[in-house]
């Protein structure tokens, strides 16, 4: 399933988001900030331009959740390829590796198989930031396992467009920054 983003004008997107949110969009001209709160929508023309060029590979074994997240990503003007298993992730990366900008994976830390696959993916496709989606607060403490694999960041379900609209910032960041910080703290 591949969703190609439509070319839309900034003004249209701006107003659509404003009406969606039902509240004022805060305009921040210094590039915005990564934030997990959903109180504000920040928008910069930089962010908008970057967003529409980003191709995201989404993996979620729960088809309903996968659909939901895919819809949110498309709302953020990303190009989305969504799959339901790690095998499909690898297949897609083999086929389109260089064009994928970010890998977004829904995970359960208690499933070891997932860890192994993530490790493989991390090593084989080093240019792609991997961001995992956790569904439970108590899984956050297990983040260290993922950080050791080189995972860049995590998001908590339920996701909102605010966090997703900041995903483009991970592109081009070097790996293991967060991991190193944690290990030395």
């Amino acid at each position: 399933m591949s969703y190609l983003c439509r070319k839309t004008s900034l003004s249209l997107v701006f107003l659509q988001i404003a009406m969606d949110k039902g509240k004022q969009i805060i305009i921040n001209n210094n590039g915005g900030h990564a934030s997990r709160s959903c109180n504000n929508s920040t928008m910069t023309s930089d962010a908008f331009n970057n967003q529409s060029k980003l191709k995201i590979l989404l993996c979620d074994s729960d088809p309903e959740s996968c659909d939901e997240i895919s819809t949110l990503l498309t709302k953020c003007r990303y190009q989305v390829i969504s799959v339901n298993s790690f095998v499909e992730v690898v297949d897609t990366l083999d086929a389109e590796g260089p064009h994928i900008d970010i890998l977004l994976v829904s995970v359960d830390p208690h499933i070891d198989k997932g860890m192994k696959m993530l490790k493989y993916i991390s090593e084989e496709f080093q240019h792609i930031p991997v961001i995992i989606i956790l569904s439970r607060q108590d899984h956050v403490s297990l983040m260290y396992k993922y950080l050791n694999l080189g995972v860049a960041d995590y998001l908590m379900k339920p996701l909102c467009t605010d966090e997703l609209s900041n995903l483009w910032k991970h592109k081009g960041r070097s790996r293991n920054i967060i991991g190193i910080t944690l290990m030395h703290s």
């Binding site: 249209l12 701006f14 107003l15 009406m19 039902g22 004022q24 305009i27 023309s45 331009n49």
Partner: protein, 151 residues
Amino acid sequence: MDVVVQLQRQLTDHTASLFHEGFLNEQFNQLQQLQDESNPDFVVEVVSLFFEDSDRLLNELAKALEQQAVDYKKVDAHVHQLKGSSSSIGAQRVQAVCIPFRNFCEEQNIEGCLKCLQQVKHEYSLVKNKLETLFKLEQQLIAAGGSFPTL
């Protein structure tokens, strides 16, 4: 040259009054931050889209509130959108009416809703008029060879 100066003054005065009388707030200035070479007409575009959408929403609201059995969820959804769009372009007086409007929706108070609809229509038509004048002045200024400073 004189024409340009005159137009510039008119534009400045008109804009100042819009802010002074509370029709617009700082957010409207912020919109200009999103205007650049790749989006040269951003402000005009967004405001025009706002007019289109608000006209539609106000129509829908009137229709929804005329029904025998009013669907307050629907009414609330429309007001939600109007609140978001008006606040995001800085039309604060329109936004201000949306707040009690949503409360009345929650209370399923038909009279309150109808009253708010009247008020929001009134505020909307005022700000619409003023913004249309603003854009006309800007166009005239550009046509006369001047440029307008971003406030």
